[in-house]
């Protein structure tokens, strides 16, 4: 009985409008002291529900069966979360088990100081605790999670911290009562890779220095390889495979696990279709040419403008795929939107299809829009929910090819859906009746409806699961080869960009810091930031990842200011 957590035959079902939906089906798991158990799976596999059950956080619409036995740190008491009273549950939460949430900015209350929020947990478990003592403990835990200058920053509000620091604070809140178990639900998904690496280091310290066990929920195989001791793979509510991390990555047993591992994009792995892609015509007049491009968002009264893109030069030749990589806030999306005419250019020059975008009038640019396709990040919101897929895909035709009759439009829509490998019958469905991957393919069909010369894809796969992502990337490569459009592929994921692009441009704080072919930029990065970015990217292989971690640590020592 040394396990911190034992889950036995857990079943969870939800009452929905469409009837009962089973989320977790006969799941049994154990977590030993000082062990990191990773639960991996695609969205909808029941991993988050399992995690929430551990804290008794299920919504009222859920019913569950089975036992969740949680041992306190000193081993004195053991409780079944399924049967304890609300009072007991409140005592267990925070003291025996705590949670780190996915979105740190949503997990912190914006109107209270972080010191207050950390102390709130302490005071809830010890009402006699003095304000001063609580504050002292808060400062201490902030020091431990690596917040610089904790004595003064304990009185800061959440918005005064960066995303990574906020996640550190959330981890501090989880650690402050020294629980035996921490449940981390996608703790790094909302963070940039360089920050992700730091948070993973911190979580490792939670185990090594605080002696906590961790249940890590993630869909990112790289994160698993980096941190986990043991891995449970979930699929459709069941645990399909459970093994030590090293064994799982080296010799996956289950077919689903194998497929999942194979779908993870790796740097230097090009899809077959991408190999055969249409050659870029680099001598011709480029489709997009940016010179000293500067885009600023007007500041509020009395504040300086916010410069999102600062002096960027690049070109996209006809038929060329340019990958734009950078962290959030680096200005990559802004560049994409400026090319599509959604954001105004404030300085320098941006020529799109022969038209100068700096000071362009919408009336003059509108005819050119038929030559630009745009694929949005979130396939969920880029379709009008009240129109069928066929109507959505037909929209560009209806706007720009007014002479086409209904029959021709229907035929063209059918062709387009076929081109993105969706059955024609899907045309009569509504967007929410399609899965994320299918919707992103429909989105591609819409973008290609007018045979554009240029396609802008803004993080087209970041909202998708890995296996679906692989399918969409392959399709993208195939279509590009067939139709020969130029493309700007925007992503935060180096591996994804590497798969598709002829040329990769790395953005950092609005400046273009490195540009070249995939082999040049990712094979031998010159800029220290690119090096760090590359080293931060976790690879789905525990052995290689341990090596990379060491490299990254070296890089950090040599480059402490960045």
């Amino acid at each position: 009985m040394s396990d911190v957590l034992q889950i036995r035959n857990l079943d969870v079902s939800f009452a929905t409008d469409a009837g009962a939906v089973k989320a977790v089906d006969q799941v049994s798991l154990t977590v030993a002291p000082r062990e990191v158990l990773a639960i991996v799976g695609e969205s909808g596999s029941g991993k988050t529900v399992t995690a929430k059950t551990i804290l008794g956080l299920l919504p009222e619409t859920a019913t569950r069966a089975g036992a969740i036995l949680l041992r306190s740190r000193d081993g004195k008491s053991e409780n079944d979360i399924a049967t304890v009273t609300k009072d007991q549950l409140r005592r267990i939460r925070g003291a025996d088990v705590s949670m780190v949430f996915q979105e740190p900015s949503a997990a912190l209350n914006p109107v209270l100081t972080i010191g207050w929020q950390i102390a709130a947990g302490l005071r809830a478990h010890d009402p006699a605790l003095k304000r001063k003592d609580a504050r002292a403990q808060a400062v201490e835990i902030l020091t431990k999670v690596g917040i610089p200058d904790p004595e003064s920053r304990v009185d800061y509000y959440p918005h005064q911290f960066s995303g990574g620091q906020k996640q550190r604070i959330v981890i501090a809140m989880a650690l402050v009562l020294n629980p035996g178990l921490i449940v981390a639900d996608e703790p790094t998904t909302a963070l940039d890779v360089t920050v992700q690496a730091e948070i993973l280091d911190l979580l490792r310290r939670c185990r090594d220095e605080f002696g906590a066990s961790i249940v890590l929920i993630t869909h990112n195989m790289g994160v698993v390889a980096d941190l986990a001791d043991r891995v449970a793979v979930m699929y459709q509510g069941r645990v399909v495979e459970e093994a030590a991390a090293l064994t799982l990555f080296a010799h996956p047993q289950n077919d689903y696990t194998k497929k999942l591992l194979a779908a993870v994009p790796r740097i230097g792995q090009r899809i077959e279709a991408a190999e055969r892609k249409a050659p870029a015509d680099t001598d011709a007049e480029p489709v997009v040419r940016a010179e000293k491009l500067r885009i600023a968002y007007p500041g509020r009264l009395g504040r300086p403008d916010f410069v999102a893109v600062d002096g960027v030069d690049f070109t996209i030749a006809p038929g060329e795929v340019v990958g734009l990589v950078g962290e959030s806030g680096s200005g990559k999306t802004t560049i994409g939107r400026a090319i599509a005419g959604l954001t105004t250019v404030t300085g320098g020059s941006l020529t799109v299809l022969g038209t100068e975008m700096n000071g362009v009038k919408e009336r003059r640019f509108r005819p050119l829009r038929s030559s630009i396709g745009f694929v949005f990040q979130d396939p969920g919101s880029s379709f009008n929910p009240l129109l069928t897929i066929a109507e959505c895909v037909a929209e560009p035709l209806k706007v720009h090819r007014k002479s086409m009759d209904q029959r021709a439009v229907t035929q063209r829509v059918g062709e387009l859906l076929e081109a993105v490998q969706l059955p024609k019958a899907f045309g009569s469905r509504y967007p929410h009746e399609l899965s994320g991957g299918q919707r992103q393919r429909a989105s591609l069909a819409r973008a290609l409806a007018l045979d554009p010369a240029l396609l802008i894809a803004d993080e087209p796969t970041s909202a998708l699961d890995v296996s679906v992502q692989a399918r969409v990337l392959e399709l993208f490569a195939e279509l590009q080869k067939e139709l020969g459009f130029a493309a700007l592929f925007i992503s935060h994921d180096l591996a994804v960009v590497d798969i598709l692009s002829d040329k990769i441009a790395v953005l950092y704080r609005g400046k273009l810091i490195e540009e070249g072919t995939g082999a040049e930029v990712l094979g031998a990065p010159k800029d220290p930031y690119t090096q760090r970015l590359l080293a931060s990217l976790p690879v789905p292989d525990p052995v290689a990842q341990a090596e990379r971690r060491r490299v990254l640590a070296d890089l950090r020592y040599t480059e402490p200011t960045a």
Binding site: V21, S43, G380, S381, S382, V399, Q406, E433, S443
Partner: protein, 354 residues
């Protein structure tokens, strides 16, 4: 060509047809509700249906005309207690109380229809333009609407009714006076709701994708924004309908209503019954009072339960046993089966139901 249009817009056959019927606004919610929420909705629907039916069939149901003072047997007489001839007795003016209560539903329905028709189009159009284009027009309209909010409804209605009817009182003059005065107050409500929705939808990815394609503003506004912005209108509609009844009754009670000879109106009847209350005559005041109460209650219940049902967090569901249900297919949208569907509320109000 026609057949092609149909296949592309309507989808495959009878299964969807049944879905269509279920998707009709009230039918859909009725189907969806459980427990006390369903009870509230059904009670509201029954009361509202009674009200509407009474208004339509008033000439058939009412034993006498609303301004009838005598029949073949001579005058009814004033303040007669309930009897087989006059189930609720007669008023101080000598009218049959039951007949006037039934005829009153017609006036009430007229006011609701005219008031809502007048305000809904103006409010929606202004809200759409204001929210979509923004700028100085938006600011001016918002300030005007805020200013109207600051006025007490009834005071505004009194002023409007005097201005419109010019002291005369006829059936349509009275109805229009009440309806227009209510309209002035309602337009800002529709305006605000539609404007807020428009501002939100304007930044949705599907509107941006329409902009990237080069769709004209008019087409974006009507095809993409308007249809998605009208989701809350049925709610405001029901809540405003009850407010319209109350304002009409209030006007009548204060003496700005319709003369008893022109139309039956509950507020006027209540005012006439004021002196009866202290002299032990209950039958002149309680029936019109109850009529107002039940109508407002019915319409409000419908509105409130529609409101609750529209929100997936407030909506009640039948409990399920832990082992029941099938495992949902994975690889859906991130967040999957647990959070709101990709189509927002529409996504949750699942049409994939077997």
């Amino acid at each position: 060509m026609v057949t092609i249009t149909q296949t592309t817009t309507q989808g495959p056959g009878p299964a969807r047809k049944q879905g269509r019927w279920r998707r009709l606004p009230v039918v859909h919610q009725l189907h969806q509700s459980v427990g006390i929420q369903r009870g509230m909705l059904v009670a509201g629907l029954v009361l509202t249906a009674l009200f509407v039916l009474a208004a339509i069939f008033a000439p058939l149901i009412a034993p006498y005309g609303f301004s009838q003072l005598r029949d073949e047997d001579g005058a009814f007489g004033a303040q007669q207690p309930p009897s087989p001839e006059h189930l609720f007795g007669t008023t101080v003016g000598g009218y049959d109380v039951l007949s006037r209560v039934i005829w009153g539903t017609q006036t009430g329905l007229g006011v609701i229809v005219v008031a809502v028709l007048l305000s809904i189009f103006a409010g929606v159009a202004l809200g759409l333009v204001s929210g979509y284009f923004g700028g100085w027009l938006d600011r001016v309209l918002v300030v005007i609407c805020d200013a109207i909010y600051a006025f007490p409804t009834l005071l505004l209605a009194i002023v409007m009714s005097i201005a419109i009817s010019g002291g005369q009182s006829s059936l349509w003059g009275g109805i229009l006076a009440a309806a227009i005065s209510i309209t002035v107050v309602f337009i800002p409500q529709y305006f605000r709701v539609i404007r807020a929705e428009t501002v939100r939808i304007k930044s949705e990815a599907y509107v941006e994708s329409a902009k990237v394609v080069g769709t004209s503003n008019l087409r974006i506004m009507f095809r993409h924004v308007l249809r998605n912005a009208t989701r809350t209108l049925p709610l405001i509609f029901t809540l405003n309908a009850s407010e319209a009844i109350l304002t009409l009754a209030g006007l009548g009670f204060l003496g700005f209503g319709i003369e008893p000879t022109s139309a039956a109106e509950w507020g006027v009847d209540l005012k006439a019954a004021l002196s009866d209350v202290s002299s032990g005559i209950w039958w002149t005041s309680i029936p019109p009072g109850l009529a107002i109460l039940l109508t407002v209650l019915g319409v409000t219940l419908v509105g409130e339960s529609l409101n609750d049902l529209a929100d997936p967090r407030l909506r009640g569901r039948r409990a399920v046993s832990a082992a029941s249900g099938t495992v949902a297919e994975t690889s859906v949208v991130p967040g999957g089966t647990l959070s709101a569907g990709p189509g927002g509320l529409a996504g949750l109000e699942n049409e994939g139901r077997p």
